[in-house]
Symmetry: D2
Subunit: 277 residues, 4 copies
């Protein structure tokens, strides 16, 4: 399927400020792009790209006082199948994990493994290791946490989510990630596009958060918020938690004025359909 | 000067457990080593080395039930001069920082930049940027925080240090790092050897923590705990905070039984002294 | 001046639940009431009144499944003058405080004196004791904290307000109370009516929080949120913090459906005005 | 049985400071005293006694610079039977609780009912109400929390105990109290003497903390730390949590130099034993 992706994010900039944007499609998906996907700015300005230590492609630039618009629209080829499920994927003992997965067992800003490890073991320590245990974690978080935009806040940690039981998509993933790490299952935070393809409409669109877990010999997608395999997920970035992959980080003030994200099925032209008959 | 470095760390291992040790001298110092510096284990076991994303050389191995001893003794050539001081080193605007310094502006587990940014600006925002401002941060932390081994705890964060005003060397550095980052000064946590060379004796020895700050075009050593240039610092690892560079991380239980660290001036043989006359 | 007070609060009650309402005018103001001021419930139900340890008049009742309405409308005589200001009121040394003021120097749920005492002393320890110091605390809190309904949450403590610098009226008072207590100035939380009399209109009405400080030989009203003497404040309850004087506490689920508060100048009839000429 | 009680607490006072001591035997036990039990100070100084809002008898005095000694030795008649157990004591619905028990359902400084209510319901919500449920709470806390003097700290809350699972007697009780309140069972903190009568010796002596729960129509003693009925408990004070009943509160600096508590069986004189034959 073809998915139209894009965003239009506008700021009022009071004084010159350095910014980093993690708004690119993730390097693992660039081969699926059918149109250019570079960040455009208005006014135009020089942009430097670099890869952070997590492998995300980041854009750096300097925003000058006035209006700043970040926008992009692109088209991506996406599988017609939902997130993969592999019930037989197994947890690896820590000594069989690849070196670069080890960091995803540690504490991070919003994932206090040290404070939730006893709880994780009590809740999930008795469950057979493997895909089913990660799914049990997702089920628990999905069922126990109430979705509510009004209760989002930037400093909310996994422990806060565990005690308050309310939050937004990033909060669900932080708690699930923390439980996984406490059980020695590598887990990392992911952000990207997730449209309402094949599910009832939720409006307005926003970027979405999910998480990835290392089972067998690769990373798999899990989503404690939606908790069902979904169509058309497009990864932008992953990291230890939301601190590492903020869509935009401004090192000084930048006042958000407008925010629009799109991720929807691209209608296929009639002539093409005929041609395929 | 020649410094004799070493450690002897012993655990009781109740059941097979994967471990990571960040006990090597940092790659930036390996050219100064005069003796082999590899981690020895008793019993002997296969060890795999790898570099983490921060550039530290880490050792992985599997510990089996019973006694485990990690030990090493080596000799390193160290400058006869204390930590460098450069009062004219300047803060760079964020847009002039190298890409790989940016991560050291962000939140991490024990450095809640988001929760202390207002405080940092109130305390240090009015001070002229540069070396002097970082020194002012160190002075504040050094003067306001009381050293006390009894008040160490593994979950203590920079905010806890700010409110409790008591802690050990890692706590001092976490608070200073957080203040620096809040002011857009890249700061990272460092661990290593720091003997009592040229200062009154403190016993017993332990590994030490300090931190590094990016000014001009390089990283500089600061130490909010000791707060004076010191002789004979030998870096082992750096990272975002103590979570990234724990001396040993065991992914399961490992009960510490004995802990000994040495870092002292190596007496030079008499014949050598004569030769140099 | 005459002030019309009242509320209309409606709940959906899923199953029988005990409730406590602290919605009465405070005993210290009952002599000013010109109309009955008892809590009415719909449906009617037996209500028991009692005084809590802080001296507030509380109502207890059992709510049965279905709709519950709490309402009242009354008229109170209020001074034509704003909150008293006495610049020469002095702080008492602790040993001269009355016994029953001592509890208002201690920690409470939302006022972590133990965690903010060092900060309080740094910020306000050098200011001359007395009214001016309490006013300096109010000024600081008023200037540093941004008002924002979106950032209210029931678990927010004084330390959270200090780090986040955003909140609603209760948050301002909790921080100011904590600073006062840390300086050995008794401070207690107050709730009640505060209409927009003599100030620009803010809509919609809500109950309001302020705080009281013991100087000289009595309690004085301060308000870190509004930070100016106001007309027509009508006290309902005071306590250690918001935990003690919640408008309604339900020991089980009670879903708020409607909330209306009024506190406004009662227009005086024309004939009365003529009579006074 | 006769129990010899006493304490000898010594401070260095750097400058004149007001102090409150909650070191008296609780009013509910004064009729059991066989010797005077008043606080003695060295040097002698005027002491004022008052009852706080919880009903504890508190002593106020002003300590002057220099050495301060608080001491007492008294003899109390204590039941020969351990803490009462009544397996059939039942929880009351909130609407049947006495007015003055309601405050012990609310949040307090170290008992964040609001943050642990979901956890309490998950852990204990399915257990039949009554004595057995409170005992289940004590069992859980007793089994999950490790006793360790090294991990005490004055700011540790019930949530900290829940996540860290380590602490001293006050920490056990704070967590158990919080769980009880979350289930609408009134629970209050208690401090007093608890010697090693009939149990293996633990040295050195200290004051002890336990808690009280309202079941049927009275308060009962529970102790999540020791978790077994004990002989010779002598209550000194109760309150919402440790903040309310600190042994000594100094409103300024007072440096503890010496601390000795005794609570032991008084040997009965031979002649008396003969007399009773």
């Amino acid at each position: 399927m073809l998915i139209r992706l894009g965003y239009d994010i506008q700021f009022q900039i009071p004084s010159t400020v350095a910014m980093v944007a993690v708004l690119n499609v993730h390097p693992s998906r660039t081969q699926d792009l059918l149109e250019p996907a570079e960040l455009h700015t208005e006014p135009e300005m020089p942009i430097t790209h670099y890869f952070d230590t997590f492998g995300n492609r980041c854009a750096r630039f300097v925003a000058y006082p006035g209006w700043l618009r970040l926008k992009n629209s692109t088209l991506i080829q996406s599988p017609d199948t939902p997130d993969e499920v592999n019930l037989s994927a197994s947890e690896l003992p820590v000594y069989d994990l690849p070196n670069d997965a080890l960091i995803y067992l540690l504490n991070s800003r919003y994932c206090e493994v040290d404070r939730l490890s006893k709880v994780a073991i009590e809740l999930f320590g008795h469950i057979a290791p493997g895909w089913g245990r990660v799914q049990a974690i997702c089920d628990w978080v999905h069922n126990k946490v109430e979705f509510n935009y009004q209760h989002a806040r930037p400093t909310k940690t996994a422990l806060d989510v565990y005690t308050e039981r309310i939050g937004v998509c990033r909060d669900y993933q932080h708690l699930a990630i923390t439980f996984c790490r406490a059980l020695n299952i590598p887990a990392r935070y992911a952000t990207g596009y997730l449209g309402d393809i094949g599910v009832p409409l939720r409006l307005p669109m926003d970027f979405s958060a999910w998480f990835e877990v290392y089972l067998d010999n690769r990373w798999w997608t899990f989503d404690a918020r939606n908790n069902q395999p979904r169509l058309g997920r497009v990864l932008m970035a992953n990291g230890r938690d939301a601190s590492d992959v903020a869509m935009t980080t401004s090192f000084g003030r930048a006042d958000l004025q407008y925010f629009f994200v799109v991720s929807e099925l691209e209608p296929v032209a009639v002539t093409e359909i005929k041609a395929s008959e």
